[in-house]
Amino acid sequence: MTTPDEKPNMIEFRDVQKYYGDYHALRGINATIRAGEFFSLLGPSGCGKTTLLRTIAGFEDISSGAVLIDGKDMARVPANARPTNMVFQSYAIFPHLSVEENVGFGLRRDPRPKDQRARAVAEALEMVGLQGYGKRAAHALSGGQRQRVALARALILKPKVLLLDEPLSALDKKMREQMQVELIRLQRQVGITFILVTHDQEEALVMSDRIAVMFEGQIAQLADPETLYRRPNSRKVADFIGTMNFLPAKVLSEGPTIEIEAEGLGRISLAPDQVMEATSGEGASIGFRPETLSILFDGQATSDREAMGTVAEVVYYGDMTYYDMKLDGASVPMRLSMRNVPGRPVLDLGARARIGWSPGAAVLFR
């Protein structure tokens, strides 16, 4: 990972608002993206993440506020003059041109002699692993190859920022995982700021230095993947990124530590950084990721804390088994995931078991 704190700002959003008629698509975006960062805009469809990306590219005018690239206000700069290039969701490969004509398209206004431009195209193709494909017709390529052409075409202009609009969503799972790794490698190699739009939380976690989670035209949380996963700042973010179990809780006292009483778990004391403000209208609740809970089999050392529960559901995944455990005294079941190791039985429905957990893994939303 880079050390982004020392890097200068590449993109700055200042209270960006966007209306489509009456529809308020972007509701006051304030954020900075640092130079050389792999940044993701993550959210469900319709949350405004693609609109925000397009305001950087210049395809979308903003209603008010400002978008700055490398310190310059982009209000009067048209898309074709911005130091950004984009990889489109559909890849937008020009179907009537060959692979090398596609990749070299942006060099049409390049003053360099022809042979140097041809070399640049060859280098770009090599960078994405498509050497020798230059003469092919663009429409004869597979999905993964089209994506590589789109990448080469965007990177050949050495933009300050590369914008990626759900570039992997059209690929199958294997191909997608392979391209994720390649994109990370490519980003480290060229050192360009990458901004990725995705609705796939796993993809965002795998690839990004930092992630902005967006809901309904606003950034709900902007943090690095680990913080986002371990310390989501709202139940909504926690729900969107992975799975989180919530148990109703009651705050007893606040001091240097926060004392609470949670259903089925009893009294817990939490550090201040484990406490998040809940959205109004929701009662206080405490959240655990499934892998922070475990079933303690006979003879296994006890964990920090223990509780008793009953198996309410078993889902077997091969390498993992997911259990829904109803803790004694709790109103809702907790999902927990156990790695399957040889010699360890898969519990049956209705079986009683000890659950090990640690207060340090919990997040309180109040």
Partner: protein
């Protein structure tokens, strides 16, 4: 049982469609001024007579000028309308598009007479130009229909990609949009040209003393002795149509293949 009756129906239908056209070359080469069976012998004299007819060539020249101008004008207007209807939203769009397509169903007779009245009222003399005006009116809806489907199949992000890579809207149109809608443009030119060249009513009303091919052929039928020469002219026209259509289809298929699209049926 079912398939044999369907086969018979298909054959009967094709005979109904093409037998009259098949008769054209038959009588064009027949050694008699009377159009009747039995055929009396082989001659190419009618083609010679046709070739020597100066009036015919003048009418043909007029028709070609009109058809070419009409095709280019209607297609140009069609490109504008198709682009506007597929890319932009503006107030009254549906109504405006409806009005553009309306001449498709208006009786040509009424349209011609209305134009004639207006032209006479404002004192514009009838000429090839007035025929072209009328034909553009008739052909534009066809051009719009063909070109709208061509523009619709164009992925918008292609334009954005070109713009993103540094091209201006104008150069994007030239480098990306135009080549990709070219099959549609060729279709539109061809359809407009074909409609214009055999159009009769508008040409008859708005032509003044300028004769075009369709009006000339109609006039010649008053003289029974001229009919065999008209038959040979018809034969030549059918032959040229087939050649033209084949060329157009060749370009259309090549365009689709180059763009990697799927062939969804054309003229042939």
């Amino acid at each position: 049982m079912k398939s044999t009756s369907l086969k018979a129906y298909t054959i009967a239908y094709l005979i109904f469609l093409y037998a009259p056209i098949a008769l054209l070359p038959l009588f064009a080469f027949n050694d008699s001024r009377v159009i009747a069976f039995p055929l009396s012998g082989f001659t190419t004299a009618w083609f010679g007579e046709m070739w020597a007819d100066e009036q015919l060539f003048k009418a043909l020249k007029n028709s070609l000028i009109i058809a070419l101008c009409t095709a280019v004008l209607a297609t140009t207007l069609g490109v504008f309308a198709a682009r506007a209807s597929t890319r932009y939203r503006f107030p009254g769009k549906a109504g405006i598009l409806g009005l553009i397509m309306l001449p498709l169903v208006l009786p040509e007779m009424i349209v011609s007479m209305s134009i004639l009245v207006i032209l006479l009222a404002i004192g514009i003399p009838l000429s090839l130009f007035t025929i072209i005006l009328g034909h553009v009116l008739l052909c534009t809806p066809f051009a719009v229909a063909i070109l709208t489907s061509a523009f619709q199949s164009l992925d918008r992000s292609l334009e954005e990609a070109a713009c993103d890579l540094g091209e201006t809207p104008l150069s994007t149109f030239r480098l990306i949009i135009l080549p990709l809608v070219m099959p549609g443009i060729i279709s539109s030119l061809l359809i407009s040209f074909t409609i214009s060249i055999d159009e009769f009513i508008v040409a008859y009303f708005l032509g003044g003393n300028q004769t075009v091919l369709s009006v000339y052929i109609f006039g010649q039928f008053r003289f029974p002795t001229r009919v065999p020469a008209i038959m040979s002219l018809g034969t030549v026209l059918v032959g040229l149509s087939i050649v033209l259509l084949t060329i157009a289809e060749y370009f259309r298929r090549r365009g689709i293949a180059r763009a990697g699209g799927k062939d969804t049926g054309g003229f042939l």
